[in-house]
Assembly symmetry: C2
Homo-oligomer: 334 residues x 2
């Protein structure tokens, strides 16, 4: 489609909804072909890109501001796990025909609120039409001291394995979304249901822990596809294996209640996606200090086991002292 | 969907098709959550993000390697227009169910070939499933000396307006794709048809001119939505207007033949999208040197008019000395 007037529809859309939230000088008021980032001397740039698709990664009927926030937060979670301070992000937005002005307004508002809250400014992007579902593809940038990015590799035998927050809530939240009766079967009160649904809707990236991870972790990643599978990836990349004490894996009260009602949920808790917590390895001598500093920053951190020499899938030891047999350890689209 | 084995399907897909073309150390063999870029001291990073959607920006039945190349090249074109040397890119790929192994192989091969040819390595990305059309969203990074990015603003009255290559070929190529009879009406031989179709299929980003643009241009942008509309954007952002001599706008032989057969095509040539040439303003005293240096680098560059004080849409002066009345000046999705 071609347009006569001086401003195209895309320019108007950007000027109306996105330029007001793009207040970083490198964004050039979203009126250029590119954005600019001036790295502080002695820094590396950490680059991450996570895309979310309507009907695949989120329910399209979710509030627009929550979709925007989730799209940004899954990327912030990657930066935090790499020990990087957020520096900014680019947004690619593929919009179906039916998207309304009020939807866009709410989307931009949510995005702007989180950009401010996490000090991660919108720098630029691209807006296109699609005959398919809404898709939000964000590329986020972070700074670390040169050579200081925390990798998936680097874990050494004898180190402690630490996970932040609680595990499995979002996977239960998703189950609740798809199965209205599950809340009753799991003996959940309204508050517990809300907690789990919220954890699925809106990740809590552990950005406040980035510096701590950068200072102490030998290896780290964000838990986005399930603790068991993600820890296995970290171990495989590091050339180690691990032993996890399942009783020590941190669960919310809601998850604990559900698990008591349906013990098979342990699979969902350990293998379900969307936690957006950090799992990392820390030298044993530093693990207590790490946990204390995380708690001082307002985030629980829990020692759940240790890295060991050897290879193979990490062993998750149950209350009976025997390894669990996990059938599903990771979320994958493919 | 969840998977039992140690490697998920997404990991296998990445390891099989994309890791082999990701040979830059910052890509971390695509086995981490993020990639890394170490900026040279004294550099700014130029960031650009262009997404293309099947059925909107390209024909889904196009060869996979051409789709990959187009997705990367439209971003390289932005970097070149900003005066930036390519540094690397991230790829988000949303794949419909029906995508086959051979399609992915061809896609990765095309992407790898262009990454090498343009010295712009694949650093990382994200692969997701979509129930909608194929979408390729690329974020590309380039380096410029600090403060040296060429903006859309900066054009001054009296400066010359220079455009690279030829204009309008891709828009005619798209018309040929959609209207089998157009080639006959426009008196095009097979070679001319091929030329126009190729220009639509595969942009030729002017990366070899990046340094020249950086050294001489006061303002620049890539022509992706039509020369007339894009020049209008550059002028508006710069606070100037322009006068263009239509007879001097560079056309390929094929475009010239078509225009002779159907003079109304001037609208398509000046207002159609997908040129991926550079339009820039250069101080009058430097324009001959700029054009000569571009030609020495193998790219035609043509002085098509001048920037002028004032505002309003640039005037395109026809052979009769009167301004053309352009009804369609720019491609826009919205």
């Amino acid at each position: 489609m071609s347009k006569t007037p001086a401003e195209t529809g895309e320019e108007r859309l950007i000027a109306k909804y996105f330029a007001p939230i793009a207040n970083h000088p490198g964004a050039l008021r979203l009126s250029d072909d590119a954005a600019m980032l001036t790295p502080p001397p002695g820094c590396d740039i950490v680059l991450t890109k996570d895309a979310i698709v309507g009907g695949v990664h989120f329910f399209p009927e979710e509030p627009a501001d929550a979709i925007a926030r989730k799209a940004l937060r899954v990327n912030l979670s990657d930066l935090a796990a790499k020990g990087a301070a957020p520096a900014g992000f680019l947004l690619a937005l593929a919009l179906p025909e039916h998207v309304t002005d009020s939807w866009l307004e709410s989307f931009a508002k949510g995005l702007g609120a989180d950009a401010d809250a996490y000090a991660c400014p919108l720098l630029g992007g691209d807006t296109v039409k699609t005959p398919g579902p809404l898709m939000v593809s964000i590329t986020a940038f972070g700074f670390v001291p040169q050579g200081g990015m925390v990798h998936r590799h680097g874990a050494k035998p004898g180190e402690r394995i630490i996970v932040t927050g609680t595990v499995g809530d979002a996977a239960l939240g998703l189950r609740l979304r798809n199965d209205a009766d599950a809340g009753r079967r799991w003996n959940l009160d309204n508050k517990s249901r809300e907690h789990l649904l919220d954890r699925y809707l809106l990740p809590q990236p552990r950005s406040v822990l980035a510096k701590l991870v950068q200072a102490h972790a030998s290896a780290a990643m964000d838990v986005s596809d399930g603790l068991a599978g993600d820890l296995a990836k970290l171990c495989r990349t590091s050339g180690v294996t691990a032993q996890i004490d399942v009783a020590r894996v941190p669960l919310s009260d809601a998850a604990r209640t559900a698990l008591a009602a349906e013990p098979a949920l342990i699979e969902t808790l350990l293998g379900g996606g969307d936690d957006y917590e950090i799992v990392c390895t820390v030298p044993a001598a530093q693990s207590d200090a790490f946990i204390a500093a995380a708690q001082a920053a307002g985030v629980a951190a829990t020692d759940i086991g240790g890295a060991m020499a050897g290879e193979g899938f990490p062993r998750f030891i149950g209350a009976d002292g025997k390894p669990l047999r996990l059938r599903k350890t990771s979320f994958s689209h493919f």
